[in-house]
């Protein structure tokens, strides 16, 4: 019974690890650069979950000060992840701009085809 509780209590972390690993798999296994960038995004969002889930207190509330409440969830991870989300979209935009540029030059966004073209020259 205790084992079962431990599994339920760590379910957040298991899903976080799964999302992380799925993102890693997409980045390594897929040659298409847009899909790789989406994989990178998955990896990034799993880190949001990794930071936010330990900050939650069961029975607590969102960290907005109000005389009616005493228990607040931890505000610090929220702040850090707010920064991470915005930086994440900036990286995504830059990566996609590079993809557009590569596609103009090579006519494809597939890594294998690009490597083959470079070797032919």
């Amino acid at each position: 019974m205790i084992e079962w509780q431990a599994i339920v209590g760590h379910y957040n972390y298991y899903v976080t690890v799964f999302l992380m690993v799925a993102g890693l798999y997409i980045v390594i296994a897929h040659g298409n650069m847009i899909k790789s960038l989406i994989g990178l995004g998955l990896f990034q969002t799993s880190v949001y979950l990794l930071y936010i889930s330990p900050g939650k207190i069961v029975g607590g509330t969102a960290p907005i000060i109000d005389p009616k409440y005493t228990d607040y969830s931890n505000p610090l991870p929220h702040v850090l992840i707010l920064t991470a989300i915005v930086v994440g979209v900036a990286t995504l935009a830059l990566g996609l701009a590079l993809v557009v540029r590569i596609s103009e030059e090579y006519g494809t966004v597939d890594e294998d085809e690009i490597v083959a073209m470079d070797q032919d020259q």
Binding site: A22, Y25, A97, V100
Partner: protein, 186 residues
């Protein structure tokens, strides 16, 4: 009750992730990524991170989807079937996953009020923001007042990324005009 809602949302998140991995039409992948972001925002609401949930819904599901669709418009949405067998990536992913799962064994359970994360910095922020009459939303107080330099660094990153995108895409229209002109000349 909250564990149940969270568990269901997280399971849906994992299911959408599997769909993203298996989907080969990039338009479908982008839409699934939007669904993923909205589910993530719901999970964040359950975890009391309301500000993060709002940002994730607007930035992750909104802006990201728009720029991904714009890129698809410019590059085409076909993904070629993978040339290699996925054995090596699968192996790397499984080993990493196993190591990370092993790392979670010692972590405190979900929602425990007296785990180390709640004992050190966070109470000081909660106390100080009440004492100095900062905005009632502690996240705002920490973001803009206590850790203002972080936000300054963040805006610098966005500025740099914006300049990078502009430099990369600047010559685009000119190049296209040039090639169209060449084509009409010949």
């Amino acid at each position: 009750m909250i564990e149940l809602i969270e568990g269901v949302l997280l399971t849906m998140l994992a299911a959408v992730t599997i769909a993203i991995v298996r989907q080969h039409n990039l338009f479908g992948v982008v839409i699934l990524a939007g669904v993923y972001s909205f589910l993530m925002a719901s999970v964040l609401i359950v975890l009391d991170a309301v500000d993060v949930a709002m940002t994730e819904a607007s930035v992750g599901a909104g802006i990201s989807t728009v720029i991904l669709l714009a890129t698809l418009y410019l590059t085409g949405s076909r993904e070629d079937p993978p040339a290699h067998t996925p054995a090596l990536p699968l192996f790397v992913a499984t080993v990493t996953g196993a190591a990370l799962i092993w790392g979670t064994f010692q972590l405190p359970g979900f929602g425990v009020a007296h785990s180390p994360i709640h004992d050190h910095v966070a109470p000081a922020y909660l106390e100080a923001s009440t004492k100095h009459e900062m905005p009632p939303n502690v996240v705002t107080a920490v973001l803009a007042d206590f850790r203002g330099y972080d936000t300054l660094g963040e805006t610098t990153v966005i500025f740099t990324a914006g300049i990078g995108v502009m430099l990369l895409l600047r010559g685009r229209r000119k190049r296209q005009h040039g090639s169209a002109k060449e084509a009409s000349d010949t």
